[in-house]
């Protein structure tokens, strides 16, 4: 237990970022898993072992073999190909949904923080209202109203992300507004917009990045849940969630059908969460002490 603090100024957390990041176990492991996920999706654009849309009943429910590396599903489709293309759906939904939340939520959060007063109150109360609905329920509601499909799934999950980012942005931005260099900027005559763009946003980026990776993991889970319920990505487009749903009825005959997509989901989510944890440590200014 130490109480010693050498008087130092902390550098901006991006100095020596890669050096610190590569030494952080969580980040490296999580990063590799995430890279695997992205690679799988990217690969699927160019090549898959078989065509995942090929329904081929005669070869259905086969175990792993030389031709079908992990076997086939109830419709005779190659599982490996399904997993690869399914990765695509997960990533697309994840990126766009988080992107929506990030852009819109952050904008609202910055606005609330810059204006304070009634603007802030209203924005935060609306965000609270958004939080009141459980995520999946909102997504289900939205897709029930507007119809199922990948696009609607993206929108639903995206909308759900907005209050989270709004709240986090506002809290972090408030802390920056209280700093003296912002006061110095105001003393120069800078307006709220300039200050927000030039001083506040760059200083809260690290928080947003960490949050985005974590929400990405949640988005993948949400997409899987929605597809499982038949509300997300629609057939014939492959989706890990729907693979799980289809495996349900055959759980005792071919249990591995559920294991493969389940493991894929678990690894993707684990990877992103680990990476987010690692990033949080890397960005923590206390660990970035250097003069």
């Amino acid at each position: 237990m130490s109480a010693v603090q050498l008087p130092v100024a902390t550098p901006p957390v991006t100095q020596g970022f890669w050096r610190r990041a590569l030494r952080n176990h969580s980040f490296v492991l999580g990063g590799l898993l995430t890279l695997l996920l992205v690679a799988a999706a990217a690969l699927s654009l160019a090549w898959t072992p078989h065509n995942p849309y090929d329904v081929n009943i005669p070869v259905r429910l086969q175990g792993p073999s030389g031709t079908y590396w992990l076997g086939t599903d109830p419709y005779g489709r190659d599982i490996v190909s399904l997993l690869l293309v399914g990765a695509r759906a997960s990533i697309v939904v994840g990126v766009i949904a988080v992107g929506i939340g990030l852009v819109v939520g952050t904008a609202f959060g910055l606005l609330a923080s810059a204006r304070r007063g009634w603007t802030e109150e209203i924005i935060m109360r609306v965000a609270d209202f958004g939080f009141a609905f459980p995520a999946i329920l909102s997504a289900i509601m939205l897709t029930a109203v507007f119809g199922p499909g990948m696009v609607n799934a993206i929108v639903a999950i995206g909308i759900y992300n907005i209050p989270t980012f709004a709240r986090i942005t506002r809290a972090s931005a408030n802390a920056i507004w209280a700093r003296e260099f912002v006061l110095a900027a105001r003393a120069c005559g800078k307006g709220a917009f300039s200050i927000t763009m030039e001083h506040v946003l760059p200083n809260i980026l690290s928080v947003l990045i960490v949050q985005a990776t974590i929400r990405f993991a949640i988005a993948i889970l949400a997409e899987a849940a929605l597809s499982y319920l038949g509300l997300g990505t629609q057939p014939p487009q492959p989706s890990w969630g729907r693979m799980l749903s289809e495996a349900q009825t055959l759980l005792f005959q071919a249990p591995m059908l559920a294991v493969y997509p389940g493991v894929a989901i678990a690894l993707a989510v684990l990877g992103l969460n680990l990476m987010g944890d690692g990033l949080r440590d890397v960005f923590d200014p206390r660990l970035a002490r250097k003069r």
């Binding site: 100024a9 901006p12 100095q15 260099f181 110095a184 120069c188 005559g189 030039e198 001083h199």
Partner: protein
Amino acid sequence: MSAPLLQVQDLVRHYTMPREKLFGPPPVVQALNGVSFSIEAGRSLGIVGESGSGKSTLARLVMALDQPTAGSVRMEGRDLHALPPQELRRARRDFQMVFQDPYGSLDPRQTVERIVCEPLAAQGGASAAERRERAGEALASVGLRANDLGKYPHEFSGGQRQRIAIARALITRPKLIVADEPVSALDVSVQAQVLNLMQDLQARFGVTYMLISHDLAVVNHLCDDVAVLWQGRIVEQGPPQRLFHAAEHPYTRALLEAVPRAEPPGARAAS
């Protein structure tokens, strides 16, 4: 006779705090209770006060970063708080501020060049090349080098960061610099360097200071006039020599007495 550089008249600032009881008036903090003084160009003023005296509030009001409850702040005759926003922004060219904390007053994510140029950029009109040149000049006048422009604040020591802050305050060639405890966070030897620098800048650029400090010795060193602030009012004012040798107000006397002298009791003075 021209208007004084800065004229503060009956300045009052009350803050209404959040309600503590459901019924009954919310508590009011009376930060400033009628402060008046004026600063002539070339005669620096020191404001001496402890915590709770209202000195930070005074600094913010003079810099037009806050609205007074009553009273006025006039810069060369113009009431700052009555100016339309565009006019006020242009007027800011003539008055700038140096803050206490060298670690907090510089944005850690911006280069020294951007930091120092900020007041100039806010004024508009200068090209990027012009701005860089002026930034280089400003850095040179505080004893830093042109190749420091590309560095980040964390690469500098506390004293150097304060110099950067001073360079930022100088870049628009202001007439008045409000310095809020500019050396309090610095070590003694660094303090001396920065104080000497501030003295030099006074001589070279003819800049006038409104220096706020709890440290009487610092104020004594740089200022032609001193005003003692206590509980939101100026209790005594005058040239430092008179104040420090023949103070009249009991608070001033208490303040002077409380400062520990750098002479051990009963010892002969350093030769």
